[in-house]
């Protein structure tokens, strides 16, 4: 299989009929869980994930007394693939989860200072959990996109003193600054392809995920896999990620400055 992917990759072709730079169809559905403060299902081709946002209040960290927080987790849900095994998450899954978390949390997508209720006493914390529903590769892009869509969909719940009244959502949206969007590439042999499917991701020599926050701004990178990329390949993927960003922006329904 790998030899075949390499062979047709050299001709610019892929096992599912796509060209190297073709991204699969992206679909987003929001508001898929009524109990969550925000939620979304994202599919990229046959890969499908669901993300839910829950919000809670608590004491701020002592070094950031006027800032709330955000955390993103990706679970290894066994519903999504026969290849995944029960037990603690694999190191690969931990890397994926941390890549998604950093792409969102450190992008300054959410204005943490606006999550402050009372300085030094009470701040909002946003917890996003992502569960893959059907795995066909590129769970990083799907998860990042689902987190973004769920955050855009979220509304603050009602706050009564220091207690959250769940089930009584306000119409107040989250303080969103910018939209981080991730594009993942893999290299197999000498062919670099975007948005890998299950087989391509399993057989990849190297993988690079690029998160951008605008037309000219990179906010996160993560290279994985045992192989490497030449400097020219990296530059090329960066340029392409800004092009694909426009496709993803359209799917989310935003436009960056």
């Amino acid at each position: 299989m790998k030899e075949y992917i390499k062979l047709i990759g050299a001709e610019g072709l892929r096992i599912d009929g796509r060209k190297l730079d073709d991204y699969r169809e992206v679909k987003i559905e929001t508001g898929v869980s009524a109990k969550a403060e925000g939620s979304a299902i994202v599919s990229i081709g046959n890969s499908k994930v669901i993300a839910g946002v829950k919000m809670e209040v608590g004491e701020p960290f002592s070094d950031t007394p006027d800032e709330g927080g955000l955390m993103v987790g990706v679970e290894q849900a066994l519903i999504a693939s026969a290849k995944w095994e029960a037990g603690p998450p694999s190191d690969e899954m931990i890397e994926i989860a941390r890549t998604v978390d950093r792409g969102i949390r450190e992008s300054k997508m959410v204005d943490f200072t606006k999550l402050c209720v009372t300085k030094g006493e009470l701040v909002w914390r946003i917890l996003i959990d992502i569960y893959p529903l059907n795995y066909d590769g590129n769970i990083i892009d799907a998860s990042s996109l689902a987190a973004v869509a769920a955050l855009l969909n979220a509304r603050f719940p009602k706050l009564d003193g220091k207690k959250v009244v769940y089930g009584e959502a306000t119409d107040k949206k989250l303080p969103i600054n910018k939209i981080p969007l991730t594009t993942t590439f893999v290299k197999i042999g000498d062919a670099v392809m975007v948005d890998p499917n299950d087989d391509e991701e399993e057989l990849m020599d190297s993988r690079l995920s690029i998160s951008t926050t605008g037309k000219d701004s990179i906010n996160a990178l993560q290279k994985s896999g045992p192989g490497g990329f030449t400097p020219d390949e990296v530059k090329d993927m960066i340029e392409k990620s800004f092009k694909i960003r426009k496709v993803l922006e359209k799917a989310v329904g935003v436009k960056s400055a």
Partner: protein, 235 residues
């Protein structure tokens, strides 16, 4: 460029002082200590040796595994001993940065274990760990395509700098940190991570700077290895 914007007065393209010591772990097949300013990494290589359990063996090639460990006392606030999620991720990142250096097809069913310990952390621990591991693999006499250099480039505000220390990583106005691993012999970037925010232009500049400095680091490693074996047995 008269006055440095860097807290320790370094030039923007100046790395911290690097020190190399080889064979620091006598029990290992190869080992090295790599010091970058106030960051210290020790790497030891055990193997190639048989991989257990046998079902994890790969028929036609060897496996390079890494275990990265930030020691509990290496940071200001004690870190709980044992692997954190960060440690697990970095173990994988380092193994992936090193795998393509080694002719793994020469060692079917075998494993090469690389252990990285950080006794003192002042930013750039994964990079120091990768430099130490590159040296330790060579010290173990494992056939390699080349040595690799690893260093963090990034930006303090709009200024591109190399080898951020902890004070710079915590830069008030926001620092971008981008650890890069590059092997000049294969012309491959084998690790690349970034946190922060950087323009495309600054990213390309930072990448170029890091690649140049990675070359310097491999030259430094080569010199230390040659020095170490000088006067030893004939090749």
């Amino acid at each position: 460029m008269s006055k440095s914007i860097r807290p320790d007065g370094r030039k923007v393209d100046e790395m911290r002082e690097a020190k190399i010591e080889l064979g620091v772990i006598p029990n290992a097949n190869g080992s090295a200590k790599f010091t970058m300013g106030k960051t210290v990494a020790i790497a030891a290589v055990y193997g190639p040796r048989e991989l257990h359990p046998r079902r994890n063996q790969i028929a036609d090639k060897g496996l390079l595994r890494c275990n990265y460990d930030l020691m509990s006392f290496s940071v200001s606030e004690r870190k709980r001993p044992g692997p954190s999620r960060r440690d697990k991720e970095l173990s994988l990142v380092i193994a992936n940065a090193l795998s393509s250096l080694v002719f793994l097809d020469k060692f079917p069913k075998q494993v090469i274990d690389v252990f990285v310990e950080i006794p003192q952390a002042d930013a750039g621990t994964r990079c120091a760990g990768i430099c130490a591991a590159s040296l330790a693999l060579a010290d173990a006499g494992i056939p390699m395509r080349g040595l690799t250099g690893s260093v963090s480039a990034g930006a303090l505000g709009e200024t591109v700098v190399i080898d951020l220390d902890k004070e710079e990583e915590d830069w008030e106005a926001g620092a971008t940190d981008m650890p890069v691993t590059y092997c000049p012999k294969t012309n491959l970037i084998t690790s690349l991570q970034l946190d922060g925010e950087i323009s495309k232009k600054n990213f390309f500049n930072a990448l170029e700077l890091a690649i140049g400095k990675a070359k310097e680091l491999t030259d430094m490693q080569e010199k230390a290895l040659k020095e170490n074996y000088k006067g030893g047995s004939e090749e």
